[in-house]
Symmetry: C2
Subunit: 147 residues, 2 copies
C-alpha cells in the first residue's frame, strides 16, 4: 500500500463526491474549486477511478460524476490503489533479499486496515463531520450569490 499525495487527492475528491451522494451528478469543476485542486489533474485521476468502476459519469449539462457504489461500500484502499495502479512490474529476480518480504507484511497490514475503512466511515468520524458541514455551507453561500 503506497501512501502518496496523489492518493490523498483522490481520496479527498471521492469524499467530496460521497457528500453529494444521492444528489445530481457533480461536475469536476465543482470539486476542483471546493478542494482547491486543478481541474485537468482531477480529470486524469477520475479517468483511473472510472476505469476501476469507483465512479460513473454523465455527460452534458447537469452531468458530472457520481459514486459507482454507496459510500459505505467503497474502501479507502480501493481509491488509493486505483490511482496508483501501474503496469505489472517485470518479474523480480531478487533472490537473496528476503527481508523486503517483511516490509510487504507491514504494508499488507496497512492495506487491510484501509480495506476496512469506507468513505462513509471516514465521514462519520466526529470532527470530520462538522468540518464537512462547514465546507458545504460556505460553498453554497458562495454560489447562491452568483445564481
Amino acid at each position: 500500500m503506497k501512501m502518496t499525495t496523489k492518493g490523498r487527492y483522490a481520496v479527498t475528491a471521492m469524499l467530496d463526491l460521497a457528500l453529494q451522494y444521492g444528489n445530481a451528478p457533480t461536475p469536476l469543476a465543482d470539486i476542483a474549486e471546493r478542494q482547491n485542486l486543478s481541474l485537468s489533474y482531477l480529470e486524469q485521476l477520475f479517468a483511473q477511478l472510472r476505469r476501476a468502476g469507483l465512479v460513473s459519469s454523465t455527460r452534458g449539462p447537469g452531468g458530472g460524476y457520481t459514486l459507482g457504489r454507496e459510500p459505505g461500500s467503497i474502501a479507502v484502499s480501493e481509491v488509493i490503489k486505483a490511482v496508483n495502479e501501474q503496469l505489472p512490474k517485470t518479474g523480480e529476480n531478487c533472490e537473496p533479499c528476503y527481508l523486503s518480504q517483511v516490509w510487504d507484511e507491514l504494508s499488507n497490514e496497512i492495506e487491510r486496515f484501509l480495506d476496512s475503512v469506507s468513505l462513509a466511515d471516514v465521514l462519520e468520524s466526529t470532527e470530520v463531520k462538522t468540518i464537512a458541514d462547514r465546507q458545504q455551507r460556505i460553498f453554497i453561500e458562495r454560489h447562491e450569490v452568483m445564481v
Copy 2:
C-alpha cells in the same frame, strides 16, 4: 505518514542491522550485498538515519554501522520519517480544503500503528523469522568460503 519504496529500503536495511545487533559493526557493503541495494544510495540513507540518531557509526577497518538503540525500542515509523524528512514546506494557505484534514486523520492512524511496531516486533513475526535465518545462513556460507 508517507509510504514509499525509499522507506522500504531504509526499513529493510535497518532490519538487517537489527539481525546483527550485539555483534561487531556492519559495513554498508555487507547490507548492500545482502539486500541487493546500491552502496552509494545506502550511504545517503544512512546519513539521514545517523542524523536522526537511529544508527551510530565506526570508521576504519572492522568499522561500520550499529543500531543506535536496541531493536525493541526503534519504531518502524521513526525509520520512515528519518529518510522522508524534508525542509519545512512553505506555509499552506489552503483555506477551503477541509476535507484534506480527513486524509490527515487516516494518515495519523497509520502513523500511530507504525509507532507501535518496533524493528524487534517485526522480526518476531513467524514467517519473517525463518526467512531471516535462511538469509543469514546463506550469507555466512557464501562468506566462509572467501575467508
